[in-house]
């Protein structure tokens, strides 16, 4: 039934026989989604990267399963979202029950005209399989995947980092300009540098299990508070690819993690949930507690942390994997421009300035959800029950019931790279927001999507037909950091549904400057080449 996990071949690299440690521009530690995203992005932007993974296969057990719309847009820029969507299950709807009663449901993508759904569910190992296949196609362009390369030591030097690596053929050393630590929550790199990773520990234990079964339950996120099949606790049921379902059951702080993992304990709990007739097979089980914590800063000189190595959240809300991929998206273009000498090293500081608030937002939501789900004292238990018992008859109380607020893309408010609005726009999108997608047509009439039509690098997205403006803007495409012009208007990209104009509150003449990670850097009602150049310099931390 289950395809065996793929094995990626360890190959002895000539570097391992070098007398002096060979030097590379970037080494990424960790072949999970975050490390793969950084490495693939860098190579696509012309910076070769070495990716080291201690194993020779995809992740085992079940980790991230929910990939958010924004993550899919990032994966699409990297070339693998369509395969993931095809392989995964699409969902937009969440339902929250109290006992047997449906309290409320939420649609995470209530409007049409979006290429990607609010979420797909795809087991992390399957997502990684697709991602590795994409990465392997980039070998000739400088993506050097090295499996069974386990980092054992990290020594930051003045102008480089030296690392020690253990392989089946013994140890060797490498040097790099930058080391990206995407090696997960138990990050070896973080430990090697002795960095604090502190935050809140939650005592409640949860049983997480993936089961394989044939069921015609709808493809939606179902969450129960105090269900009859698991009295006094919470439960989650969520579909994944290949007839695998995620079940997450709250066990309480006193549960014995060893005993609760035993099949004779697990099976009756699942049977109570699914009904006595349902045939199922347990794929994977774990009993876990969780923490919400992060590093004080993510960049430590030439060592930069991303994903779970930098920050950790609870699973409710799908904020771990999706937050990590947004780290990668944020980091890769900055690092590429710094390494090409087109932006000062200061640009890397903005990674902290932008991603630490994003991590804090994820930690805040995760902590709020956890505080609601697992009351810590009689008072918080009273408010928990008060909200749940009021919710049926008093709709306002449903908004207090928190089963995990699902991952939303970070808006980089307050980023030093943003140029604030001087013109008025009636949109929730603003400088710092990820650009919104919209259905558009190509000049040849073919259907496409706005984000798909953006190029690598910076883009000036211009709404209008004025030829003189176009001539004035044309030189922007010629600089050392070119700004590609994309136009929505006559003879260019079409917006037949009007969704692009509406989502961008665009009038003739409106121009958005988008960063390589598709976040809005600045926008104007009347584009002015010098203003665009200043905003570009600002987004690159280039001082006059």
């Amino acid at each position: 039934m289950t395809d065996p996990a793929p094995h990626f071949r360890y190959r002895r690299h000539p570097d391992q026989a070098a007398s002096q440690p060979p030097r590379h521009k970037v080494i990424v530690v960790g072949g999970g989604p975050v490390g793969l995203a950084v490495a693939v992005d860098l190579v696509q932007q012309g910076i070769p990267a070495v990716l080291l993974d201690e194993d020779d296969t995809v992740s085992t057990g079940s980790r991230s399963i929910c990939w958010a719309k924004r993550t899919l847009e990032i994966f699409d820029r990297l070339g693998c979202a369509e395969r993931m969507v095809a392989r995964g299950v699409t969902w937009n709807l969440g339902k929250v029950f109290y006992g047997e009663k449906l309290l409320y449901e939420f649609n995470l993508l209530p409007e049409g005209g979006h290429r990607f759904p609010a979420f797909i569910n795809l087991q992390q190992n399957l997502a990684e399989e697709i991602f590795v296949a994409e990465a392997e196609t980039l070998a000739a362009r400088g993506l050097d995947l090295r499996w069974k390369n386990r980092v054992t030591g990290v020594r930051p030097q003045g102008d480089h980092v030296e690392i020690e690596i253990e392989t089946p053929d013994g140890p060797y050393r490498l040097r790099c300009d930058y080391l990206i630590a995407a090696d997960g929550v138990r990050s070896t790199v973080r430990r090697a540098l002795g960095l604090d990773f502190k935050g809140q520990v939650f005592e409640d234990r949860f049983l997480i299990t993936d089961v394989r079964m044939h069921a015609d339950f709808p493809t939606e996120r179902r969450f129960w508070f105090d269900p009859t099949f698991h009295s006094g606790r919470s439960a989650l049921l969520h579909r994944q690819a290949d007839d695998v379902w995620r079940i997450d059951l709250q066990l309480g702080a006193d549960a014995d993690p060893e005993r609760e993992r035993e099949p004779e304990r697990v099976i009756p709990r699942i049977r109570a949930m699914l009904g006595p007739e349902r045939a199922f097979e347990i794929v994977w089980t774990s009993v876990y507690t969780f923490q919400c914590r992060r590093l004080d800063k993510f960049r430590h000189g030439r060592v930069i942390f991303a994903g779970d190595a930098a920050h950790q959240v609870s699973p409710f809300g799908a904020r771990g994997g999706n937050g990590g991929v947004q780290d990668a998206d944020n980091l890769a273009w900055k690092l590429a421009l710094v390494l090409k000498g087109l932006a000062p090293e200061d640009l890397l500081e903005s990674y902290d300035a932008e991603r630490i608030p994003a991590a804090d937002e994820n930690i805040m939501h995760s902590t709020h959800a956890t505080d609601f789900m697992t009351p810590k004292n009689p008072v918080s238990a009273a408010f928990h029950h008060a909200a749940l018992t009021l919710a049926e008859r008093h709709p306002f109380a449903r908004s207090l019931v928190n089963s995990g607020r699902l991952s939303r893309p970070a808006t980089l408010d307050g980023s030093p790279l943003n140029t604030g609005d001087r013109d008025r726009f009636a949109t929730t999108m603003r400088p710092g927001s990820p650009a919104l997608d919209a259905p558009i047509t190509r000049p040849d009439g073919g259907k496409s999507w706005l984000l798909r039509e953006l190029q690598q690098g910076f883009t000036a997205l211009y709404f209008g037909d004025d030829d003189e403006t176009l001539v004035r803007l044309a030189p922007l495409a010629q600089g050392p950091v070119p700004v590609a012009l994309r136009r929505i208007g006559r003879g260019a990209l079409g917006d037949p549904s009007g969704a692009a104009r509406e989502r961008y509150d665009a009038e003739p003449g409106t121009l958005y400057l988008l960063r390589p990670d598709q976040h809005v850097a600045a926008r104007w009602r009347k584009p002015d080449r010098d203003a665009i150049r200043r905003a570009l310099d600002h987004a690159l931390e280039r001082t006059d």
Partner: protein, 64 residues
């Protein structure tokens, strides 16, 4: 920003007070706590303004 009202706004304060106490009659501590929690949530929604709610929470905690 709206401020907490320093003066009484309840039409018949003595009756309100008596009914508030009466509301809890015959309840054990856990039940009384649940009733209070529901009441706080209902009233908080009536107030609606987070700024005012914060002032009320701070005032409630004052001196303790």
């Amino acid at each position: 920003m709206s401020q907490l009202h320093p003066e009484n706004r309840i039409g018949d304060p003595d009756t309100f007070y008596a009914e508030l106490i009466e509301l809890h009659r015959g309840l054990n501590d856990e039940q009384a706590r649940l009733v209070d929690a529901r009441l706080i949530l209902l009233l908080a929604n009536e107030v609606g303004d987070l700024g005012v709610l914060r002032q009320a929470m701070a005032a409630a905690r004052q001196g303790i």
